[in-house]
Each structure stands twice: as C-alpha cells, then as structure tokens.
C-alpha cells in the first residue's frame, strides 16, 4: 500500500478474513507551547504517517526504542488518543473520529494491558471492584451473575477467586499484572493492546505472564498488538513484528524472517544490540553499534528519519522519505539502500 493511500472502506460486511484493524497514514501530533500566551510553537511528531494491518487472531509485535511512538500508536488505535490525521478501521468501520455512545460501545471490544501493575490499579479498590468496573460501565451483568463473572475472570488468569476482597498492595507484581489482565478480559474484547506488559516484572515471573497471554489468546480467540522494547520477547510472542523509529514504521515481517534477514539497517543494528543469553553465541556475534542518539521528534530529520545514525545513508536519504516496499512474504521495509 503506498503511503497516504486511503484505506478501502468495505462495501460488503466485514468478516474475520478481513483485517481486524487497518491503520493508514495515521498521524498523532502533540503541540509544544511556549511563552506567556502558551502559543503552539511546534509539534511533537509522535506518530507520523503509519500504515499497519492486524489480522484477526494474530499477534503483531511493535518494537522500538523509547520515544519512537509505539505507545502513542497503540493508544491512538484504540482511540484513547485523538488522531491528528489518517484513518483507523476496526472490523471494517471507520473509528478515527468516533465520539460519545458509539465510542463507548467500541470500548467493549478493545482493551489495554499496561506496563506498570503498581500504577494502573487503584489502591483503594478491591480486586473485585477493579475487575467489576468495566462490567458495570458496559452494563454486562448484575448481582450474582456479576460476582460469578468476576470470580471466573480471576480463575482464568490464574488467581484464586477468593481474592476478590483483597487490595492491590496485597499482591506481588506478577499477580497484579494478572489482575490487570482479568480487568481487560472482563468486557470480552476481541482486540487487546499489551503495552510493555512484562517489563516491570522480575525475570522469573515474565515467562508466567507470557504463557498466560498465549493461553488466553487461543482460548478466547484474541488479537494482540504487543508493544515492547525487548525484541526477544516480542519475537517469541508475535506472528509479525513492526519496527518503529521516530514515529514511522521502518520494517514489518514475520519474526523469524526479520531475525534471519532484516532489510532495514535500523532493524539490523537493533537485532545486533539484543544480548543473547549464550556466551558461545555472544563471542561469535558481529556487533553493529549505532552511533549517537535518536533525533528529536519535534524536528525530525528530512527524508529518512534514521539517516542521522545510519551507516549506509547517502545523499538521497535526506531528500526523500523512503516508502514501505514489499520484499515478498509479507515482508516490507522503508529503505533506499536495504541490507541484502
């Protein structure tokens, strides 16, 4: 799909064979204001022209370094943020500028799991209240039925249903994350955004949560957008991976394909920077160490945004924005001088 092309709105009814989510040329800009009058003097181009499709039942991993816009993209896709431009289709419907009751209805079908299980749960609510709140908001169940549903959700995420009257501080980080997952599942969504769901957890607990998310996905036929900075985890859980840099998608491919044959130089250096827990492999690895830091999203570099750190950059890279091009087998990369 060429950049900026409008997403085709379906003329027939949406089926599960169609993409669950289609994002085209999505932009989310934040104003930067200054002075006594707080006039807008510039914009942070957090997400700046993103095209992405997510199929029903798949997990798309979204990786990138802090500030690349991956969380902003996630939040805009489920309309926690108002897009500045572009279009988002969910189950064939244009949800880009939904408001009011229709937006609220949409929220039943989407949920989010947050990074910090300490900050995302209200310390004054019991676990039962936390999981029950979305059920109440969407009038899904009342009385005993509601209680049963809360207990069922806790059981599904591996918590003892007797915990309903406990408070978040009585739980460990891993258990709190399970509470967060139970809350997300309470509305029976089809699409869940997992925003760094395991990065705040201890190493020995991370695998428990990853396995839980995988089990829930097959049990409830969920579609995930899995946002994380840890490529090893993302590769493990995702069918496809999108690599973001300064508000743009640089490369999209299946996990193994991306690891074995990255096309974008940024993906190449990102992969090479991930340590592998094997001293023999580490000894033999070639290290591509990127120079410098990520440029500012307020005033991103012209042309390709990665060119300021790219070892392969030439003059042309500053003049034109490279489009996402096909490399076969659902592999796309945005680079004029790709790796072989």
């Amino acid at each position: 799909m060429p950049e900026g092309a409008p997403v085709k709105t379906l003329t027939r009814a949406w089926t599960t064979a169609d993409p669950l989510v289609s994002v085209s040329d999505l932009k989310v800009w934040f104003p930067v204001s200054s002075g006594i009058l707080q006039r807008t003097i510039a914009h942070v181009h957090a997400v700046d022209g993103v095209d992405l499709e997510i199929k029903t039942g798949e997990t798309v991993g979204l990786v990138g370094e802090s500030g690349c816009g991956k969380s902003t993209l996630g939040r805009a896709v489920i309309r926690l943020l108002e897009p500045t431009g572009g279009k988002i289709l969910f189950k064939g419907d244009d949800i880009t500028h939904l408001r009011g009751e229709r937006l609220r209805a949409l929220r039943r079908d989407m949920a989010m799991i947050f990074q910090d299980p300490y900050a995302s749960l209200d310390p004054r609510q019991t676990v039962g209240d936390i999981v029950g709140e979305p059920i109440d908001i969407h009038h899904l169940a009342k009385g005993k039925e509601r209680q049963d549903r809360i207990r069922e959700m806790l059981r599904v995420v591996g918590l003892n249903p007797r915990f309903v009257d406990r408070y978040p501080h009585e739980f460990s980080g891993g258990q709190r994350q399970r509470v967060g997952i139970a809350r997300a599942l309470a509305v029976e969504p089809s699409f869940i955004i997992c925003d760094e769901p395991i990065s705040a957890l201890d190493v020995s607990i991370q695998a428990q949560i990853i396995n839980l998310l995988e089990r829930l996905q097959s049990k409830f036929n969920l579609t995930y957008l899995f946002i994380a900075h840890d490529l090893s985890v993302v590769k493990h859980i995702s069918n496809r991976i999108a690599v973001m840099y300064l508000g743009k998608i640089m490369e999209v491919a299946g996990g193994t394909q991306l690891y074995k044959r990255p096309r974008h130089p940024y993906t190449g250096s990102l992969l090479s920077a991930i340590p592998i827990p094997d001293p023999v492999v580490e000894m033999r690895r070639e290290r591509l160490i990127l120079q410098g830091d990520v440029a500012s999203p307020v005033n991103p570099p012209s042309g390709c945004r990665f060119r300021t750190r790219c070892p392969r950059a030439r003059e042309h890279c500053a003049e034109e924005v490279p489009p996402l091009e096909e490399y076969g087998d659902e592999h796309k990369a945005a680079c004029f001088y790709p790796l072989d």
Binding site: E65, S66, S172, G174, D202, V203, S204, I205, Q206, A207, Q208, I210, N211, E214, H229, L231, S232, V233, K235, H236, I237, T256, Y259, S269, L270, L271, S272, A273, I274, P275, I276, P277, D278, P279, V280, V281, E282, R285, R287, I289, L290, D293, V294
Partner: protein
C-alpha cells in the same frame, strides 16, 4: 592462581525493618581477579546491589554484621570512614542504574567529573578540569570541552551514563563496580555503553564487577559469573560452563524461562512457578526449594553450602552436590 584483587569472605549485611531483621546479604563469598569482568546476576531483592554497596561501605541504613572484604591487604569492613572515602575516590568506583539521580543537577558536568581529582589527588581546578575533559572525550562524548560546561539535564540517558563512567575513571581505579548500568537505557544505547565498558576494561585494565538481571548481558561481557538468590550465592563459575551446564536448579530454570532471539521454533516458555521469597520470612533449608523441580527431602531442612560441583563450578545444591544431573522436559 593469581592473587585476587578483591576478596569477599562470608559477608553478612542486615537491615532492621518493622517486620524484623532482613538478611539482605547472607554469607556471600567471591573473589575478583585483576583485570577481569565478573558478573553478578539475580532478580530484584536477591542481594546483588547490597553486596556491591557493602563492598563500598555504602550499605547504610544496612549494617555489615559479619565477614571480610579484603582489598590490597586491608579489610574494608574495618577501615575508618575517612580511609574508606579515600579508597572510594582513588581505588574503587561505582556507577549506578540511574545516572540522573547520581549526578548533581546544579553543578556543571565537567566540574563533577573533576571532583575526585580535586578532592583525592589535591589537583587544582584547572588541571582537574582539563583531565576531566580528556576523560569525557575518551568515553565517547563528542565536543567534550563544550559539553563539560553543560548541566546533567542537558545530556541524554546514554550520555549521562558515559559521564558517570568518566567520573569513575578519572582516578584510574583498580575496581569498577557497575550496578545495572544499562537497565534504564534503550538497547542500542545499552550496546554502546557495554562496548565502552569492554573498552575501559581493555585499555585501563580496570577489574569490573557487573551487576545485572540480564543473562544476555552477562553472556556477552563476563568471563566468570556468580548467581545470587535470596541473599546467597547459589552458583559460581566460568560463564560458558554455567550457561552450558548449570549446576544449580535456579540457574537451570532461569535459563529455560527466558525467550531467546535466536530460537528457531516457537516453544512455550518454561516459567519458574511461584515467587521469589520474602527476605523477612525465608523458607527453611534452601531458599529456592519451594520453587525447585528437583528438590529432595533434605532441601527443606538444611541450608546447602556453596561447594565445588564438577571441575570448574560451585553450587549450593544438595541434589547436584550428590552427583545428580539437571535434566527435564
């Protein structure tokens, strides 16, 4: 055997809390050889940071209640505070996870980097600053002379960590303790800092203790590794041997629970069930036994000591000390 540069023997550090006494470091022993990079791995609360802080005598409010830290013939647990301050300034340096909170926001960076030279070597400001600028350049800060006039907030996270490393290196210490130096950084910046630490180790011959929870970082950086759990060392040995053939069930399970970037097929991860124990209320016997897949009856009764298992490794496990292999589905 070469003479160890730093030797930690049966170190005990405790904290008094409302719930009772916490044995954060509970009988830790290891040695650091000249010029080597030693990894200490473990999860939060395992005592790896408190071990490092105790070596530097920065463990307060904790108290060192037993053991010895021998450095150049001196027991660091016994020296006076002013002697210790001098050792910290000249011979041992420490860098921390969060470089923003370790730098003073109101002083220019160059001034702070030069501080150890002024305080501990008695250099005048001008000479110290010139040396600091040179060191900033050597740790990879571009236009070091100009950047030395900037304040810490004007640097990015990776650059701030470089400043910390420069500050630690100005007095060319014999020992550098790096406590999770890359945990707050992005992976491409992590790679830069790890590369810098390798370079520092080669160029200055600084012996480094690298504390991390990241097994990949240890694999790429350290010749030897010690693994900590609940305040104790549970396994130690050459990194290649420990990773290829772990002799403690905790190490064994931890390695199987993490996804690897180079995995060929998708296989479900094998998590360690349960939670790390609370240090206020440790299980009896081996602290890992409630989560251990290999436990025998004795494990819940007696605490295993760290003993040689195999040719190169040490393990604190009754099962492997009795000669059993760690295998499993």
């Amino acid at each position: 055997m070469t003479q160890a540069l730093l030797e930690v023997q049966d170190l005990h550090t405790v904290f008094a809390t409302r719930e009772g006494k916490v044995k954060a470091v509970d009988g830790v022993s290891f040695e650091l050889n000249p010029g080597e990079t030693l990894g200490i791995v473990g999860e939060s609360g395992c005592g790896k940071s408190v071990t490092a802080l105790s070596i530097m005598r920065l463990q307060r409010p904790g108290k060192i209640v037993g053991g010895k830290v021998t450095f150049k013939g001196q027991d660091l647990t016994k020296v006076t505070e002013s002697e210790m301050r001098d050792i910290r300034g000249r011979e041992m340096a420490m860098i921390f996870q969060d470089p923003m909170t370790s730098l003073n926001p109101v002083f220019r960076t160059g001034w702070q980097v030069a501080e150890p030279l002024r305080l501990h070597h008695g250099w005048d400001s001008k000479k110290a600053l010139a040396s600091a600028v040179q060191m900033l350049g050597r740790v990879g800060i571009p236009s070091a002379a100009e950047r030395a006039r900037d304040y810490p907030h004007q640097f990015s996270g990776g650059m701030r960590q470089r400043v910390m490393i420069a500050m630690g290196l100005t007095t060319t210490p014999a020992v550098l303790i790096a406590d999770e130096p890359t945990t707050a950084l992005d992976v491409t910046i992590q790679a830069q800092i790890l590369d810098l630490l390798r370079h520092v180790n080669r160029e200055f011959g600084t012996a480094t203790i690298l504390i991390t929870h990241n097994l990949g970082v240890v694999a790429g950086m350290c010749k030897r590794v010690i693994v900590m759990y609940a305040g104790r060392v549970v396994e130690a040995g050459p990194t290649t041997d420990v990773f290829a053939n772990p002799k403690h069930p905790y190490t064994w399970s931890l390695l199987r629970s993490i996804p690897r970037l180079d995995a060929e097929r998708h296989e479900p991860l094998k998590p360690i069930e349960g939670l790390p124990p609370s240090l206020v209320d440790l299980p009896t016997g081996c602290a890992f036994h409630p989560r251990c897949a290999f436990k025998v009856e004795r494990c819940s009764r007696d605490v295993p000591a760290l003993q040689p298992v195999g040719d190169t490794q040490l393990s604190a496990c009754w099962v492997t000390q009795a000669g059993a292999e760690l295998k499993g589905a």
